[in-house]
Symmetry: C2
């Protein structure tokens, strides 16, 4: 059959990462490829205990159809966290909608804003699955140049005025893939421009809580007098990804519209899962859990940085992330990471080539290295193997 599909299908392809993950499930592999939080840190036993309790306590309510906005106690918990630790101050219940993972939040946001052919601005590099979600609505992408402190503000205003994007998509804390955290000055300057031009901002805060240093960097929503910022948050990285519970916070008027979109998209997120997340959050000291995760990840980041420093591959550069799960490596230009990956996989080491993280540019010598799901000694070993392979490639 020759099917007559929608035009958007021309841009739809398998995610590089998900395809790589399928190939490399083999034992013994040192993988810097995934973006997985280590399963050993999931609160499996506590959730096992709570899951049964919820079904007994809430009976059918947890298994029935339920309001699209989400489970009120969980939304209240998020309100409190955003007003407290995230410094947002003015968040109320109507400013929060629960979504089925943050990917679903990106899908809903795309539907809210994007007509076919509309421009969306994004960092270079950026989170590829966000581009995939925006692609489904036919977005065109314009890159925002970045340095270690975030988006470079010079020239941004002119470019924004020229393309009039529907929104800018940014990850200001421990970005996936670059590991970059924006400075406070850059956040403020960026929001001054966006406020002046009245361009919405979609801030993806998946890694917000995973900050290894005493930074107190605040969300862009705290520099938002006009109500332009939608902030996406998630329990995937601080609790576990498999329950698929995340949220969007923002102006009540936009959240209300996102509720209508969600009704038509997936009706609701499982209440059972929302209750499970909520009851778990109530049963622990959340700050303490975050600190525990950060201390594990910090050690792994340090292992990766220390080994990269020790290897000192000529011409290789890499970011020094303040949090999150990833660092971004720039290999010498002679190395095409897409081909180099095969050489590494032969030696049982994997990473994700950087190419597909760019909205427009095709840089072929970049790689995303994940440090969250391997023990420090394996990180040392993997980086050594990778750097040796790169040396050979350069010498050959």
């Amino acid at each position: 059959m020759q099917y007559s599909l929608a035009g958007r299908m021309e841009n739809v392809k398998a995610s590089d990462i998900r395809e790589i993950l399928k190939i490399i499930g083999r034992p013994g592999l040192i993988s810097f490829a995934g973006g997985l939080p280590p399963a050993s840190l999931f609160p499996t036993e506590e959730l096992a205990r709570l899951a049964g309790d919820i079904l007994v306590k809430h009976g059918g309510l947890s298994l029935q159809y339920a309001p699209t906005e989400g489970y009120v106690p969980l939304r209240e918990w998020i309100v409190k966290r955003l007003n407290g630790h995230w410094g947002m101050e003015h968040i109320e219940l109507d400013n929060v909608i629960i979504t089925s993972g943050s990917q679903s939040g990106l899908d809903l946001t795309a539907k809210l804003f994007i007509n076919e052919g509309d421009w969306v601005f994004a960092e270079a590099p950026t989170y590829m699955a966000a581009l995939a979600a925006f692609n489904l609505c036919g977005a065109r992408f314009m890159e925002m140049e970045c340095d270690d402190n975030g988006v470079i503000i010079d020239k941004l205003e002119a470019k924004l005025k020229e393309h009039k994007p529907k929104f800018a998509y940014v990850i200001t804390n421990s970005q996936n893939p670059s590991g970059r955290t924006w400075s406070m000055e850059r956040r403020q300057a960026f929001m001054e421009v966006m406020t002046r031009l009245e361009i919405p901002v979609v801030e993806d805060n998946a890694y917000y809580e995973l900050c290894f240093e005493e930074l107190n960097y605040r969300s862009l929503a705290t520099f938002d007098p006009k109500g332009l910022v939608l902030s996406i948050g998630s329990f995937s990285k601080v609790l576990c990804p498999g329950l698929r519970v995340a949220w969007i916070s923002g102006p009540a008027e936009l959240i209300r519209k996102l509720v209508f979109i969600k009704q038509a998209t997936d009706l609701q997120t499982s209440y059972f899962n929302q209750m499970l997340v909520y009851d778990y959050l109530c049963s622990i000291d959340f700050d303490q859990r975050v600190e525990m995760l950060c201390s594990v990840y910090r050690e792994r980041r340090d292992a990766m940085l220390n080994e990269l420093d020790a290897q000192a591959l000529p011409g290789m550069r890499y970011t020094r992330p303040k949090g999150g799960m990833f660092l971004w490596a720039e290999f010498p230009e002679a190395i095409d990471t897409h081909q180099f990956l095969n050489k590494c996989i032969e030696r049982n080491v994997a990473f994700v080539p950087g190419r597909s993280f760019y909205p427009q540019t095709q840089k072929n010598n970049m790689a995303r290295l994940n440090f969250s799901c391997m023990a420090p000694e394996l990180i040392h070993k993997g980086i050594r193997i990778m750097c040796e392979a790169a040396s050979e490639e350069l010498d050959g």
Copy 2:
């Protein structure tokens, strides 16, 4: 702020049903409005026991990121059910993708086929939330006239040739809202036309299992030599809605594309929930559970039909469903059900006005009556009150 939103937002509005459900949560109300399976029939205790076991048994796997296609053992269960009870015969693993509820299946299907302005054919009346999902991709709707046996085939071919729809959306078994089940002759004749014109068919089988009579009516996928049918199925009506686990079956080529779309839409459906559904299915005699549900619903349908027959409101007509959860009532033309609803709510009875179930037509004297979630004596009482109110309205 004046936000510049996507054009699709002009068509996005709150679902009538979800808004009515919010208003009428009050105690003592006899509601024929919702589409809820009764929570008392959920296997709450069994799920409570299994949930803990799964987390202990599968550990982190149930809480980790996982393949988009879905949990293989659950997909295998579905394959077996479709080849067996549903009579499809040629379904394999690659023909099935798990979705986050059937609403999400409708969203993925819309994205697969619909460009803005494309025509979609649908029964009149049809399931309003499907129209909402298709609306998000900018569909235009063309109604297919129906009688008690399904879509009327005469004139259909000419209309299809004229509008060249991307697909036809149909609910062939115990339709929501009409309660209609297509005859086998009509299924065959419909698929002959669709096959000749090579127009895809999206068959929504949410109520397929809830058949109260010995019918053996087969899915449209069993009359599909060219691979045109996508079949949506769900555990919401036979197990519980709150876990948000459903599926789409169809040609492997289309399912593969739906996997890519799902990656960008919500990444995956919770594996924990999928495992819970699967382990529960393995722990019971599924046919026996379906028969139990059918016997409860059958009794409630009979209560509603018997009371409507007894009331014999002049000029009132209604369908006699062979399964599902709904019947469709046509009041005398003098009654506008949208206004009449208020009168009924004053008397503690609720239903959904029929208006919003039509893709194009505006028929004002129709109502959808749900019989699944009230005990028979309350159904008798509610129908009596409703018919008395209608008599007064007509006399006044």
